[in-house]
Symmetry: C3
Subunit: 204 residues, 3 copies
């Protein structure tokens, strides 16, 4: 297995986890099997589609490489059939979701930098890659996006994107940059979950 293969496998794990989150939201809203697959697809790949449109990489990877779409739909359908058992896996899903957050942020930021986007824009694109799918999932199921409400989630992604940009600027090797940044994002997210950290709201 080469480094590229490892990256693809990691990427597809992130796709599967985010698709599962979309499928769960669809089941909660009593969508039909197609709706559940669709929300899973968008939750997993919506952020990456937005990223690719914004950096001019058309057609987006979600349409150019069949493994992404197939992974997303398979994960969503697995949740459709298995969901009564899934409540027992809640901890595993949160862990994998945090890993997906870290990974999508890092690959999104690096792709934007490689496409010539300046630093501030690349950090924003990295964060949008990671949170865009969840945003679209919530809009499709009629909710105000949870990422905008009470949690350290997008902020961990943004911090990680800034770290990626700094390490790239310092000429660190890409695999090391990716590992350090993704672990940091995932770690911050997990600690925030564990300690119930949340961002402040405005004074009334």
């Amino acid at each position: 297995m080469t480094a590229g293969d490892g990256l693809l496998v990691a990427d597809l794990i992130g796709v599967a986890v985010f698709a599962a989150s979309g499928a769960s939201a669809g089941i909660a809203k009593r969508l039909d099997i197609f709706g559940i697959a669709f929300v899973g697809f968008i939750a997993a790949l919506g952020g990456g589609i937005l990223r690719d449109l914004v950096i001019g990489a058309v057609p987006p990877l979600a349409f150019a490489d069949w493994r992404y779409a197939v992974t997303a739909v398979a994960a969503a359908l697995a949740v459709f059939w298995l969901h009564p058992q899934l409540t027992r896996w809640r901890r595993a899903v949160l862990l994998l979701d945090a890993a997906g957050l870290g990974l999508f942020t890092v690959t999104g930021t690096l792709k934007a930098l490689d496409a010539g986007v300046p630093a501030v824009g690349a950090c924003l694109i990295g964060m949008l890659t990671a949170i865009g799918g969840g945003l679209a999932r919530d809009l499709l199921t009629g909710e105000i996006p949870v990422v905008l409400q009470r949690d350290i989630y997008a902020v961990a992604a943004l911090g990680g994107a800034i770290l990626v940009t700094i390490l790239r600027g310092a000429d660190l090797a890409d695999p090391l940059t990716m590992a350090v940044s993704a672990l940091l994002i995932t770690g911050v997210r997990l600690v925030a979950l564990y300690r119930r950290w949340s961002a402040p709201v405005a004074a009334p």
Copy 2:
């Protein structure tokens, strides 16, 4: 009238029908005349705009050819002025909507294939072309998209997109591919309506 003219006329009929569906949704939500025209425009052309962005055809046809925007807005305004009479035409609207579904799927899939998108991605883009406008219409009017809920609609489009891709691969002439696939999608959609077929939902 050449084949290209016939295709344009068929495409504009689809635009008009989808714009009418958007305008009806806007009236039900008590939007003003501008809101109704806007939701009609998005319902008719949102799917095609997404398709063109994803395959890199900029500016999208909705902005590059004035006939699309004018047809959409004219159809929406006609509904604005005529809507009390429209309830009598419900069957005609459902029939035309099924025809629009078939047509938009077929042209969307072929355009994606022509732009070099691989088979799986082209099928997804074809389906998104057909259902994207209705999705956007429902989001703009504050509804969970009806296509995600209880109907054989997007599934008919996806099946038709797969047929288009197979027939194109078998080197069938494009007009024949288009006619066969569009008729199949429209037919499946109409039979599903008539027999009240619907997709399964998850076990509770």
Copy 3:
């Protein structure tokens, strides 16, 4: 200060005002500080991002020039900290919002014409540049977009975009075209506010 500098300053004032409107909507929905900054960013820059995607200008200006993102986020955070005082400034905000509407319409229409979009499409893109951010703000906060409901807002933008296109066709100098059209849009919007003009809704 050159003409280009003046344009940039005017553009950034529009960004700040629209970001403030997004932040206010976020506070009303009890979003956290990140959510408020995010809705502010999208309200200010969503229309321009859509415009740049549609005319093929990637990466969009919102990501290519850090001053746009920083201005939007700074304005949103200022509202987060100052909002109890903001109710006193309601008139100033409405005035600046009308100015932003005029300016975004004019620059959006001209950029579309410069990118080779035909007249009808360029007018639509100009209008979408001005209203797109507000649309996205309302979708993110779970509201049916206010621009679709009861006001002369988008119609003022569309009228101004048509004027821009006519004046450009008449070979008027760009700075004059921009000043005349932006003032007209802003003026119509302010008169509509003052006289409570609103667009008609459909007969029941």
